[in-house]
Amino acid sequence: MRRGLVAAFAVLAASPAIAHDMEMMPGMVMGATKKPVARGRVTPAPAVSVKVVPSSSSAPMRPAPVVYVAGIQPVMDHMLYAHALLDEFEARYNGRGGEFRYDGQGWYGTDYDKLWIKSEGTVSRTGRFGDGDHEILYDRAISRYFDVQTGVRLDIDNGPARAWGAAGIQGLALWFFDLEATAYFSDRGAAARLQGSYDILLTNRLILQPQAELNFYSTADRARGVGRGFSDIDTGLRLRYEWFRKLAPYVGITYSGRFGQAAEIARRRGSVVGDVTFAFGLRSWF
């Protein structure tokens, strides 16, 4: 499955950095690689508050920089980590047929700076790849629970390709609510996506996860079946069992639907406006 994910990303692997990252992924048995990287600039502000009592010995005022023996740092706290999460990797069925859907993301970087890649798409029974959305983002940690992400989004599938600039936030809202909110810009207008999910622990391994993704567009894009305003939603309620933390089979019910203008476009094409399916799949990460 990772190969599939990699294949989907590979199209986007334009920059050497990403290509490098991609190459590494299949080989990462344990799921993470770490390399020391050059240290960031050291903030000159004193790390400790010092209270000097008058008329006694005082701290040196002009401290020389510390010279470490053989240049060795006693701890390596500035490491690179790589992880990827395939949140949805599922077959969807209902009376009218079925489709396959995936939604994943991966990152590579330090505590503060990461290269972040997202990809999702749907493959119909006839092999048509739709809803293909792939993003390459620079991610910067900015607060306790949130990161800012900027980069590009490419809609690449069997439909016409589109490119967007992307800017958004991702993190953990209060009450452990996972949230992604991203705005997209191109010469065709603007778009926005809101994604959220929440883990309800029925037990410590059996977890019920409601999830939703909402898409908004400032202008219609008939070729891609996108309508102005609130265009579409993909939502699901999945029950997974964390057999292992990193590998959890699940079953669920999903609903994907189009609204307003997008619904009209779909109707005119004779395609489905709203679809409830039964889904089963695997959630995995490394």
């Binding site: 740092q73 706290d77 995995s284």
Partner: protein, 610 residues
């Protein structure tokens, strides 16, 4: 598909552990599955006499876990490393040969020595390269129970630790009939680097005891739905969980006593009526332990190698890197079980005091696991204020300290500015206003990427035995109980104070001091000859055993001049405590949290003494 290594797959079931000395027991032995057995006893027994010269080879040591052969890191074929016995007044010479394929080091934990002998790569020396031999040579100026361990990467987690027993000058002083070391540790088959990586991605990776719908229903029935909902909302509003006790749990750890897994455990022989000294060393990477011997009273006579006035207890908590010496005198035949639970109650190490080999005592049921409280969150809670104690503590702190009043004034202003004037109503505070947040750092500290929470009302918790030990009906040791048998050597008041906040973000698994990782921070600079007070404020909701290399940290625990001399001080969540340090040895020293993974991700400072 994701390629799980066997280790990783096994990581979610309880491990069995067997250790064997290399070469001694035959490499090709096929082990039956079933209860774990040791192939050969590690060399943890205290040698009959002290020595001044040692030759140690750091090497891979075979370990059998769950029927599978693995390797750990040990010394001279032993995991834990052999117990070394020194004598105060001797100059020891220890030749350490590295037979690993990576750089190694040995740090003599709690030993006062020249900085270049301290064994920290980058600070003391360049480390011991593969194939090389480094000879440590230093005079031994202290006695008691200590330990040694690698200070390179994650080698400590893989088994590179051993006990040090130092006889007092002028011969062996053994007022006991039996003398044993108990090296407690946490063994895992998983790759330590992988553990950190997993925690960076999912900080509750190893916690399978979180609140669920089931516990919500139980609490709603017990406390009423309103209270249960409010409690969930309150913790949720902080994105924190009261079930967050240990970052790494018994899910992947097997807790060892002298290298022995709990199925059989370690056995110490005695005859009824004998006095048995147990030198308990917590060599675990990430685990606080609670030690008791059901049916026996333990007399705590030493802490971190230094003698203390005997304290009779039923149970004590020991943080990573701390040592306690206890004396027991079993009158009956027993067998007596030494029961050592991890703080989060996900597992235990076990030993037996027996009159003949092979005897096993009963294993008591695990205690209820603790939950974090709002006090742990630094939200105060003055209900259990340790009254008389604070007064004593402040008295000691104020002796000759002209900054006292000034400090208090600052503290009061800051507390008020934060809308927390209640902090000033702690018992004893009016007369001796010391223990409040008072540092500039605290004022500057803001929540952010590296600071998940700030203790609004850190408090004195020295009289508390620790999470999960409150009200269990046993006499539990507290820091306030520790009283040195000798008055402190340096009667000078501190000339200045250094406040350090212990900070972190569990969600991102970043830990540091004052909201900064090691790589982002300036070193702590001390002047040779000065006397300094370190004030530690724990803003996180976890315990942190803080270790200052090279110097004694005299814990200001209300015992006046009889402060206990410690090398590692475990600071509870939401706690503020202080220690005095006489800065008498120049060089570069390490100052860090002794939870290995906290240290490795940044909870570390270089201390420069010049």
């Amino acid at each position: 598909m994701i390629n799980f290594s066997l280790r990783e797959r096994l990581a979610l079931s309880r491990r069995r552990f067997i250790t064997g000395a290399a070469g001694l027991c035959g490499a090709g032995v096929v082990l039956p599955r079933g209860p774990a057995r040791a192939l050969s006893a590690p060399h943890t027994d205290i040698p009959l006499t002290s020595s001044a010269r040692f030759s140690l080879a750091v090497e891979r040591v075979p370990v059998v876990a769950g029927g599978r052969r693995m390797t750990g890191t040990g010394i001279n074929g032993s995991l834990p490393a052999p117990t070394l016995r020194w004598r105060e007044g001797d100059t020891v010479e220890i030749a350490v040969t590295n037979r690993l394929d990576e750089t190694t080091s040995l740090h003599w934990h709690g030993i006062r020595l020249p900085a270049d002998m301290d064994g920290v790569p980058g600070l003391s020396f360049a480390g011991i390269r593969s194939g090389a031999t480094f000879t440590y040579r230093f005079p031994v100026r202290q006695s008691g129970t200590y330990w040694y361990h690698s200070h390179s990467g994650m080698q400590e987690q893989t088994g590179l630790y051993g006990a040090l027993v130092i006889d007092p000058a002028g011969g062996t002083e053994r007022a006991v009939d039996r003398d044993y070391v108990l090296v407690l540790s946490d063994w895992t088959d998983a790759d330590p680097e992988q553990i950190v990586s997993s925690l960076k991605f999912q900080s509750d990776y190893y916690n399978f005891r979180q609140r669920t719908v089931g516990t919500f229903v139980r609490d709603a029935v017990r406390d009423g739905p309103g209270l249960a909902v409010r409690d969930r909302l309150r913790w949720g509003a902080m994105n924190m969980a009261p079930t967050d006790i240990s970052d790494v749990s018994g899910v992947i750890y097997t807790y060892l006593m002298n290298g022995q897994p709990p199925e059989t455990g370690w056995t110490g022989l005695f005859r009824p009526g004998e006095r048995v000294r147990l030198r308990v060393i917590n060599a675990a990477s990430m685990t606080l332990f609670d030690v008791r011997i059901p049916g026996l009273t333990m007399h705590v006579v030493g802490a971190d190698g230094q003698d203390v006035e005997p304290v009779p207890v039923d149970e004590f908590r020991i943080g990573p890197a701390e040592t306690y010496d206890v004396i027991v005198q079993p009158e009956g035949e027993g067998p007596w079980t030494i029961f050592v639970q991890s703080e989060d109650r996900t597992g235990y190490a076990r030993g037996t005091l027996a009159t003949r080999p092979g005897q096993l005592g009963p294993v008591p049921p695990m205690d209820p696991r603790p939950l974090r409280t709002m006090v742990d969150m630094g939200m105060g809670g003055m209900d259990r204020g340790p009254a008389g104690h604070d007064r004593m503590e402040s008295g000691a702190a104020m002796q000759g300290d002209m900054a006292g009043m000034d400090m208090a004034g600052d503290g009061m202003r800051h507390a008020a500015r934060r809308g927390a004037p209640e902090a000033m109503r702690m018992p004893g505070m009016a007369a001796h206003p010391a223990p409040v947040t008072q540092s500039g750092a605290g004022e500057r500290l803001k929540e952010g990427v590296e600071v998940q929470s700030i203790a609004m009302m850190p408090r004195n918790r020295l009289t508390e035995p620790g999470a999960g030990l409150e009200g269990n009906g046993r006499r539990c040791l507290t820091y306030a109980d520790l009283r040195a048998t000798r008055a402190g050597e340096d009667a000078r008041p501190p000339s200045r104070e250094i406040t350090l906040h212990l900070t972190g973000n569990m969600e991102r698994f970043i830990w540091g001091f004052d909201g900064k990782k090691f790589s982002e921070a300036e070193p702590v600079r001390l002047v040779l000859g000065e006397r300094v007070r370190f004030i530690l404020i724990n803003d996180t909701m976890m315990e942190h055993p803080i270790h200052l290399h090279g110097f004694w940290s005299e814990l200001e625990n209300g015992q006046g001049a009889f402060r206990p001399y410690k090398h590692t001080i475990t600071v509870k969540p939401g706690e503020r405590l202080s220690s005095l340090v006489t800065v008498d040895t120049p060089g570069l020293w390490a100052y860090h949290c002794h939870l290995l993974y906290h240290m490795e991700v940044g909870m570390f400072r270089t201390v420069v003494v010049s």
